[in-house]
Symmetry: C2
Subunit: 202 residues, 2 copies
């Protein structure tokens, strides 16, 4: 049997969708969490100097969305045909565009630049949330074609992180998104993971 080892910081961020997807798919994995102080000496071992990485049967794989898609296929979370898969991928990339805009602003240290990036991110935020809300409403409570996919799980996992960045629930004014996230968090495997995961600030 294959052994899965996921290595990331001890935060939600880009690692959490993979942890959710592995849990939902019933795949046992070693959940390695690197402290920020230890990162400089590990960085050069990583394929592109970044985490998360998945070690699978001794080989390292990188890029969070590539890893997530691979796990999603194993968990039957990638649609029923290639058209659905394309819609799931498009949704994932739009969700990630929003995550990236908010993250880039949040971590910027230069105050003038941070203010500018904040403007960009906070212009995007309501536009994207309204689009996502309409998409979930139109698709029977899920992002694509009325059934659970890794787009729903990605959004739910990112919301853990975005709640920190936004200091509040990103879905609070969007009832369809709120219901979707509650539904994903209540899936037995994901619920069990959330209950046992380390408590982290972000």
């Amino acid at each position: 049997m294959s052994t899965y080892k996921l290595t990331y910081f001890n935060v939600t961020g880009l690692g959490e969708p993979i942890r959710y997807l592995l849990s939902q798919s019933g795949i046992k994995f070693e959940d390695v969490r690197v402290e920020f102080d230890d990162w400089p000496k590990l960085k050069s071992n990583m394929p592109m100097g970044q985490m998360p990485v998945l070690e699978l049967d001794g080989k390292l794989y990188h890029q969070s969305k590539a890893i997530s898609r691979f796990i999603a296929k194993k968990g039957n979370l990638y649609g029923s045909n290639e058209l659905e898969a394309m819609e799931i991928d498009a949704t994932v990339d739009s969700i990630d565009d929003l995550r990236q805009a908010l993250s880039t602003y949040y971590w910027e240290k230069d105050p003038a630049l941070k203010e500018k990036l904040k403007g960009i991110a906070f212009e995007k935020l309501p536009f994207y949330l309204d689009k996502f809300e309409a998409q979930v409403k139109k698709n029977g409570g899920y992002f694509v074609n009325g059934k659970l996919s890794w787009a729903d799980i990605l959004w739910t996992a990112y919301c853990d992180y975005l709640s920190f960045v936004l200091a509040g629930d990103p879905n609070k004014d969007h009832p369809e998104l709120k219901k979707l996230v509650e539904k994903v968090r209540a899936l037995p495997n994901i619920k069990a993971y959330i209950e046992k995961r380390p408590k982290t600030q972000l």
Copy 2:
């Protein structure tokens, strides 16, 4: 038979990998090119206010990488198994990280911010090029497992655009990447597309 209509600006950018992939896969498509002046009145018709979009049998699909992956599957350019597909996806996302860093810097109008973004992009550039060069060298002249995939085609198509941004060939000091790009441009279907495509500045 399905009808494919790709709509994007009259530039290479995010549309060109899809045009290359459709050509390589032998799929006939309508290559609609929007002038910048006409964009404001079209923008609100697009799923996320962005292009490229692919219209397939009357339905609009968005996000360039999602569309590219869909076409890559049709053209047998997505590896032979799920592990290869994951490596192709990871390569694609790393290539796109570099493209995005360079593009964000290039189009920024605020001089101070542009200078800062330039620093970030030009720190990334040699690191990524060296990593890509080593990867292609290790994989027999292609990005993944010694055979053509949509990662090779994406990089080649982006090089049209990046040559403009960098005012020179991105591969000039990286012989493996240079050979790869020449090989992709010489594929009969892609060569034919390049010869007949509209000449554009970027």
